[in-house]
Symmetry: C2
Subunit: 358 residues, 2 copies
């Protein structure tokens, strides 16, 4: 069966599939090359009078920023503000970020929106860190410090390896900041690339299940806490590549309203690895099932996978690192649904003329 040979089906391997496959080595390289550098940066930041973090990003990088909000909150007890660039660009305002470390995440480092926030932070003499895949970019030159993603060129039209590399860079910073409080954090992080590689091995199951998504036009993608970012990113991939109305939710927010829309036609991808958010996810999923929804579960927990109509087992990690592993099946799902629909994942369906960002 072709299913036994992931990626070897009819269509030649796409740039996107290649980049999804590169993720374990990209994250491993990032950790190897940036670990000592990040340790020295964090030593300096710890001495400064920083009261909170401000993160600025767009698109997939903004989903990584959402990871940062949970990461720095949980591991480091640091409050994170996600900057809205239009406050700076559309309205010309200059929010005070003086007591903040400003972190800009941008793979190409040339987004006018992001640069506007960074320029204002520099005027205010706030320290600025760039997390970017483009060390010669305008962003890198403006920032005080840079953590480079080392992801290699991303030729796919949607972000994959730069997303997980950005998560990896943030995790590295959070682990270093936790420092001697949690010496095991860095060790745990170092073991993640191997687990990402294992997550790639379930591709044949995902390709099979992808057919189920071809005839539908709507799906929920659920994740909570650390994996809220995973839900956001998987939903974005599904929308970008398959044009499905994929709606991301934290289960907590979902209960505050749109629960009324659940019915027997609804497919829900629930990202629920073990950890503090798991029990809640199980209960939430049971409720979705009672309402008739079809559940696609992503987890390392057998109890949860048994509950799902389709379950994808991923390797176990500490919860704070699970998005790096749990994102992989979601990326593969978006890829295979798109291919099952006959889309070329490396070519946009068309190139709409987008307004210039202002």
């Amino acid at each position: 069966m072709a299913d036994g040979h992931p990626g070897s089906e009819s269509s030649p391997r796409s740039a996107l599939r290649r980049e999804i496959g590169e993720q374990p080595e990209v994250v491993a390289r990032l950790l190897d090359r940036e670990r000592a550098h990040v340790a020295s940066l964090v030593t300096r930041w710890r001495r400064q009078n920083l009261h909170y973090l401000t993160i600025v990003a767009r698109g997939s990088s903004d989903n990584a920023a959402t990871y940062g909000k949970y990461l720095f909150g949980v591991l480091n007890n640091i409050t994170v503000a996600l900057a809205a660039p239009s406050i700076y660009t559309l309205y010309g305002a200059r929010p005070n970020v003086r007591q903040s470390l400003v972190v800009a995440i941008s793979q190409e480092g040339d987004d006018a929106d992001i640069l506007a926030v960074v320029e204002e932070a520099k005027k205010q003499s706030a320290p600025v860190l760039a997390i970017t895949n483009a060390p010669k970019s305008r962003l890198a030159s403006l920032a005080d410090e840079m953590v480079e993603l080392h992801a290699g060129e991303e030729t796919g039209i949607v972000a994959s390896k730069t997303f997980t590399a950005s998560i990896g860079a943030l995790a590295l910073i959070g682990a270093a900041w936790a420092g001697s409080d949690s010496p095991s954090h860095l060790d745990e992080l170092m073991s993640v690339p191997e687990k990402m590689a294992q997550a790639l091995e379930i591709e044949s199951q995902i390709r099979t299940a992808a057919r189920m998504f071809v005839g539908i036009d709507r799906a929920l993608v659920i994740g909570r806490g650390f994996n809220y970012c995973t839900a956001l990113e998987i939903a974005l991939k599904l929308k970008e590549l398959t044009f499905l109305a994929a709606e991301p939710y934290s289960s907590a927010d979902f209960l505050h309203g749109p629960i009324a829309m659940v019915n027997e036609n609804l497919h829900a991808l629930v990202v629920a690895p073990s950890g503090q958010a798991h029990a809640d996810a199980v209960e939430f999923t049971q409720m979705l099932k009672r309402e008739g929804a079809r559940i696609i579960g992503v987890s390392d927990e057998a109890d949860f996978l048994a509950l799902a109509d389709v379950g994808w087992k991923i390797p176990s990690t500490s919860e704070w690192l699970s998005p790096l592993v749990a994102a992989v099946p979601g990326q593969l799902l978006a890829l295979h649904v798109a291919q099952a629909k006959g889309h070329d994942v490396d070519r946009p369906r068309r190139e709409p003329k987008a307004p210039d960002p202002t």
Copy 2:
């Protein structure tokens, strides 16, 4: 024609319709009763060494919090962090909010998630403001200060008047904080209830257009800058009441990805009042039209309404106040689509057993 008599069609007036209609008087009462109180609070906060704001909320109140992020950023140059309650409740972390004013928005003031964040802020001796409709609630008793919404009991199953009242309370705080820099802000705010009343008068047009939404299962709701919150709230109402897959977007974020999903079957409600975000909205809407989408426009600008397939004219306000007016047609749309589908808007389709918040 029944259309000439808004609200007088076949079905008796619902609690929700009554509460949508009460909004001008609710906001007027709030401004009247809280104006002097807010001025004195702001005088005190200005003297404290506050570096940023932290806002905590869920559901519709969280959409109001998003308004606060733009409001305080643009009017007051204050950075706003939106707290993720699960950082506190699921993970037991205690992010540092010492240099922050913590603002909790909750109509009933009894949400365990919100209370957990407030309790931690109190432990850290951070000043806490409650914005609530429940002056005897646990939240009100925990907080150092309260701005009461004075909205009266909200019996509808979805928030309407407490949403706009929360926006009004935030606007009052922002205007007072801008203070002598912008003495006209308070005057502009005082004129808003009358404009909200005018926005209610286009109900017959909305009822007619609502039929167009009965046969569809997906729609975009677009707003940018100050009106990103408006898009979030209208999409939530559509989901809660009509079970439509209503996807809210900032036009800026939309261009970073899901644009590929636009096609001729897509309906897009675009909230684009005059102001700094307007030109961008016009250009974005032209692009959606080229892709074949059907546009329902909400604006005070004739050029934009001419561009839309269906245009709803709202009274002009300053952009920072426009969400109070622009939300009204969206609420009415959700109500009338639900009624056109035969739903009882005052009764949930069912009461799913929700997991307890943890």
